[in-house]
């Protein structure tokens, strides 16, 4: 097979392959650490001791995929309606809709909990642009 303008065609093909195969060579030799969000803060352990199991506001599956939506709804409810009461499906308990005072009371380990998956997914939520993140001691 004779190629006409073969040089130009090969340059084009090399550029195409470089783009198409980018994910395959970009990750070569880089660490592939899976995220491991930690739910072992003192507050959670205390809860587990009292109730016999770990339990967030809603089920783990729900929280995993819908927590951003939940927080967004909470914000709207608090800021627009002044309503801070939240009755969850998983509990019969009433929760206080508050990121700093409710969520972060248990999950006081933002770096080992929130950031673990958010960094893995390269998601940058803007929660803590306004809210104050819990103080954490750097333990290495």
């Amino acid at each position: 097979m004779k190629l006409y303008d073969g040089g130009k065609i090969f340059i084009g093909l090399i550029i195409f392959v470089a783009f198409a195969a980018f994910p395959f060579y970009f990750n070569v030799g880089k660490v592939n650490a899976k995220p491991e969000p930690k739910t072992d803060t003192p507050a959670i352990q205390e809860w587990e001791k009292q109730n016999g199991k770990k339990q967030c506001v809603e089920s783990k599956e729900f929280m995993r995929t819908e927590h951003m939506q939940l927080l967004n709804n909470w914000r709207d409810s608090v800021v627009r309606d002044g309503n801070r009461g939240y009755m969850s499906d998983a509990h019969t308990k009433r929760f206080n809709m508050s990121l700093q005072n409710e969520c972060m009371r248990c999950h006081s380990n933002k770096k080992k909990f929130c950031d673990e998956c958010h960094n893995y997914m390269a998601v940058k939520p803007y929660c803590f642009d306004c809210h104050i993140a819990p103080k954490e001691e750097e333990k290495s």
Binding site: I9, P23, V31, A122
Partner: protein, 331 residues
């Protein structure tokens, strides 16, 4: 009818993906088919380009829309009728990045009986441009599933795309424009009678396929969410060629439909009109300089032809010509 069959075909693909995901064939859906699709896409495109490259282009056939290079006091239209490499590069860049030729799209109408009138019709250009650019941005944004240290440009692109900060997960502007543009292109195809007349299944099918990909993607992000952490663990294991089947069960069915439609798109790509992705670079009507008037282009399959010149003819018949009183050039 052709549109309907294409729609049914895409819905069938959705049903197939749904059935396979439910029937515990997720390894096939999540690992085998995507690998096969990417391989067919890359090698299919290369084969297609090499096949095109093996056809000679003996003549200069650029389509020009401006004054060609001429006398020094006549102004040349350097981008519309390029005479050198730089002009061709500029022209190609305009075509590839801004769809220059679509910008010339016209609509033709009859008025007052048989009078013909031509007017501008920029909607095709606008929707086409919006569709292609947002598709590119969405594709690049998906690199966040395929890289661990997500490249800074990809993160910047994502930040820019979501800067309206509407809802959570944050709305991407490109998602809205993309779906609107694809829908607009489809409506144009069925609304204009002339365009509908020349539209084939091969035109409708990719439109519906891409629309299906967009809709399932948007649904997964904004409506029935999927466990994207498991998705990224899967995609990262795929790009490292060590598929992690342990997460396949945790991912929602909608993801498998999305992935299957994309796999079909990749498989279909090299064999369909979608190869215009490569074809636009290889169009001799665009990528050649219009230098026919001062450069000789020799046909590569020319073979030596014996030519009997007049001089030879005269040498053969000079005596007889003189006898008959005919004029000769050499005595």
């Amino acid at each position: 009818m052709r549109a309907l069959i294409s729609l049914v075909a895409v819905l069938l693909l959705v049903a197939v993906a749904y059935g396979m995901a439910e029937a515990n064939m997720r390894f096939l859906l999540g690992v085998v088919i995507p690998y096969a699709a990417v391989a067919v896409f890359i090698f299919g495109m290369i084969a297609r380009v090499l096949k095109w490259g093996s056809s000679p282009v003996p003549f200069r056939i650029p389509t020009t829309c401006g004054q060609q290079k001429s006398l020094p006091w006549i102004k040349q239209s350097k981008l519309e009728s390029p005479s050198g490499t730089m002009g061709v590069l500029g022209r190609m860049a305009l075509e590839v990045f801004f769809f220059r030729s679509l910008f010339r799209n016209l609509k033709m109408q009859r008025y007052e009986g048989n009078q013909l009138a031509y007017g501008e019709a920029k909607w095709l250009w606008l929707a086409g441009l919006a569709f292609h650019w947002t598709f590119l941005v969405i594709l690049l944004r998906h690199l966040r599933f395929f890289t661990l240290a997500v490249p800074v440009p990809v993160q910047m692109l994502e930040g820019l795309d979501s800067f309206l900060q509407i809802g959570a997960p944050i709305l991407y502007i490109t998602d809205v424009i993309f779906l609107a543009a694809v829908t607009g292109l489809f409506i144009r195809r069925v609304m204009l009678p002339q365009v509908r007349y020349i539209s084939l299944m091969a035109d409708y099918f990719p439109l519906f396929l891409i629309l299906g990909i967009g809709v399932t993607g948007v649904m997964m992000r904004y409506l029935t969410k999927t466990d994207i952490l498991s998705v990224k663990i899967l995609t990262m294991s795929l790009v490292r060629f060590s598929p992690d089947a342990s997460v396949l069960g945790q991912i929602g069915v909608l993801f498998y439909i999305h992935l299957f439609l994309i796999s079909v798109l990749f498989l279909y790509f090299p064999f369909s009109k979608l190869v215009h992705m490569a074809g636009v670079f290889m169009s001799p009507t665009r990528n050649l300089a219009a230098n026919n008037r001062w450069k000789r282009h020799i046909n590569p399959w020319n073979y030596p032809v014996h030519v009997h010149t007049y001089e030879e003819y005269e040498n053969d018949f000079r005596a007889k010509m003189k006898e008959a009183g005919l004029p000769v050039e050499k005595e």
